[in-house]
Amino acid sequence: MAGVTLDTVRKVYTGNVEAVKGVSLGIEDGSFCVLVGPSGCGKSTLLRMIAGLETISGGTVKIGDRVVNQVEPADRDIAMVFQNYALYPHMSVYDNMAYGLKNRGTPKDEIAKRVNEAARILAIEPFLARKPRALSGGQRQRVAMGRAIVRKPQVFLFDEPLSNLDAKLRVQMRVEIKRLQRTLGVTSIYVTHDQVEAMTLSDKLVVMSGGQIEQVGTPSEVYRRPETRFVATFIGSPPMNILPGQVEGPGRVSVGGQSVAVTDMREGLTPGSAIEVGLRPEDVQAGAAGSSALTMNVDFVEELGATQLFHGKVAGSEFVVQASTGQIPADTRQLPLSIDPANVHLFDPQTTKRLGRT
């Protein structure tokens, strides 16, 4: 087993397009690291550089203690699961899993042992003789993972492996991937644009945007204390509401003329200067009981079953409130909101960085 260390890794495509702009990241041995971000943020490019499928324009990639910049993909001791599975259509499931080992000159009985073991773990034993086309999407996904497992690699790389599956199967496979990674204890790097997958799978969550890392942390750190406005609005569903406001003084900002108390606020901000106030839809309480009160003009309500989403405007900006069904009458037009000072996030309008305590 080995960790993965990236040091100012850059990728520049012809035409001077910089897809990855100097990413440094340490992934501990045995941990599950998820790279998440919108499409085009460089997460897949980064993964493919670790895999050796893209050349590295600058910086170093280390697997364990070995710099692998110039090492062929096959010699990096990695295994990769692709979005469209990339199973060999003309080979049986068994041969698909055995192919990499065969190329390595692994003895036949060892191959059989490993393939059968992987098939047992993934519950695909009945399909070993079949061709991939005779399998369902979920089964193909398992074969693709089996192909990775039999290699006993130092690192698993997953490139959006669940995006071709239907919603129900995706949840099921997500759980299985997590369980598998726990059982095998292999360092894993997983690329996704789905923030639910990112939150649920990761030990270490890396949010990327525009070829750079926005924030690295545990899922709860990233959720509780987003470092930039981008992270705040990207992680969490529905996304965080951002309202324009002004600094009033230490621990207080004003939004649309209403004063709001804030626990996590940087000291020494100039009173009267503009600031962005972030509030998660699920952190806002309906009712005027709290210390800081805002009023929302409700436009419409979305029913999600257990919860309802109230869409409307607060101080002229779009705002969403999530509440348990039945807690607020659906015909409410004016909704008073109370806000816990601990749940207010502040961002600099210019740099979009968090203005929390240092």
């Binding site: 692709f82 060999y88 259509p89 003309h90 190329n103």
Partner: protein
């Protein structure tokens, strides 16, 4: 509509039957003609039922040849077979390799190379026949199998066909095999070729028949009768100057000339269907 269907089907069958008769009757006639002796055919009223000379005709045609001391047709068939096989196999080898290079490797002047290959499409054998003849003659390849085969191998059709096919194979397959430790050649051998079986079979059928039916080129470069192909053999049998045309032998030769292409189509058709059913890109 339902009550009309019967008559429609009947009409469709009628048209199809007429079509088949038009195509098949001359072939039937040739087969019948190969079962009579020369005098019966020369008479002008050949019966449409098989005669009793079939064994004699086929034996004589295959192993002895016509009366004007020609080569046995068995020899010509062998020549034609070598030529057609050589062209089909050679063309597949060359085009699959060049398409592999053009699609999967980045080298300087890659697209130039591709366009040069592409342009040769505009230059069929008939257009470049003089320079080709000159080169083959200078290389001392007249009256050789190499001379028969080599100039007809070089063409772009196969390369284009394989290129188009390779472009439809997802990149992930290449990447997966890279990670599985397969180099360029292993990827070619283990993944690309098995996936291309249908294309290869199609090209084989087309090129085998193309090679088998060649007339102009073998006519030019073969002077010895031992190097004659069957297509030229037929032609020579029909245009005799100092003797009567032995129509029974000519027709037997024609029937024999039809057999290998028909066999290739029948055999390869099974591979076609198999390939179509089994391959999934």
């Amino acid at each position: 509509m339902v009550e009309n269907r019967r008559y429609r089907n009947l009409l469709a069958y009628l048209i199809l039957t007429i079509g088949i008769v038009i195509v098949a009757f001359p072939v039937y006639l040739a087969i019948m003609a190969s079962t009579f002796d020369a005098s019966t055919i020369i008479n002008g009223n050949m019966p449409l039922v098989p005669g009793d000379q079939a064994a004699d005709n086929y034996y004589r045609t295959l192993f002895i040849g016509g009366s004007a001391s020609r080569e046995p047709v068995g020899m010509m068939m062998f020549n034609s077979f070598v030529m057609a096989m050589g062209i089909a196999v050679g063309k597949i080898l060359i085009s699959v390799l060049s398409a592999f290079a053009v699609v999967y490797f980045r080298f300087p002047l890659r697209m130039t190379a591709f366009w040069i290959i592409f342009i040769t499409l505009m230059l069929p054998v008939e257009v470049r026949i003089y320079p080709t003849y000159k080169i083959v003659a200078d290389l001392g390849l007249l009256d050789t199998y190499t001379g028969l085969i080599l100039p007809l191998i070089a063409s772009a059709t196969g390369t284009l066909l394989f290129r188009q096919f390779f472009m439809t194979i997802p990149d992930e397959l290449l990447e997966a095999s890279k990670i599985d430790g397969a180099g360029a050649f292993r990827f070619f051998k283990d993944t690309l070729i098995p996936l291309s079986i249908t294309t290869i079979a199609a090209l084989f059928v087309i090129q085998f028949i193309y090679g088998w039916n060649q007339y102009l080129w073998p006519l030019l470069i073969t002077t010895q009768s031992s190097m004659q192909t069957i297509v030229i053999g037929i032609k020579k049998m029909i245009t005799t100057q100092d003797a009567l045309t032995e129509w029974n032998i000519a027709m037997t030769t024609a029937v024999l000339a039809m057999v290998p292409p028909v066999l290739v189509v029948i055999f390869m058709q099974r591979l076609f269907v198999k390939g179509l059913v089994e391959t999934e890109k």
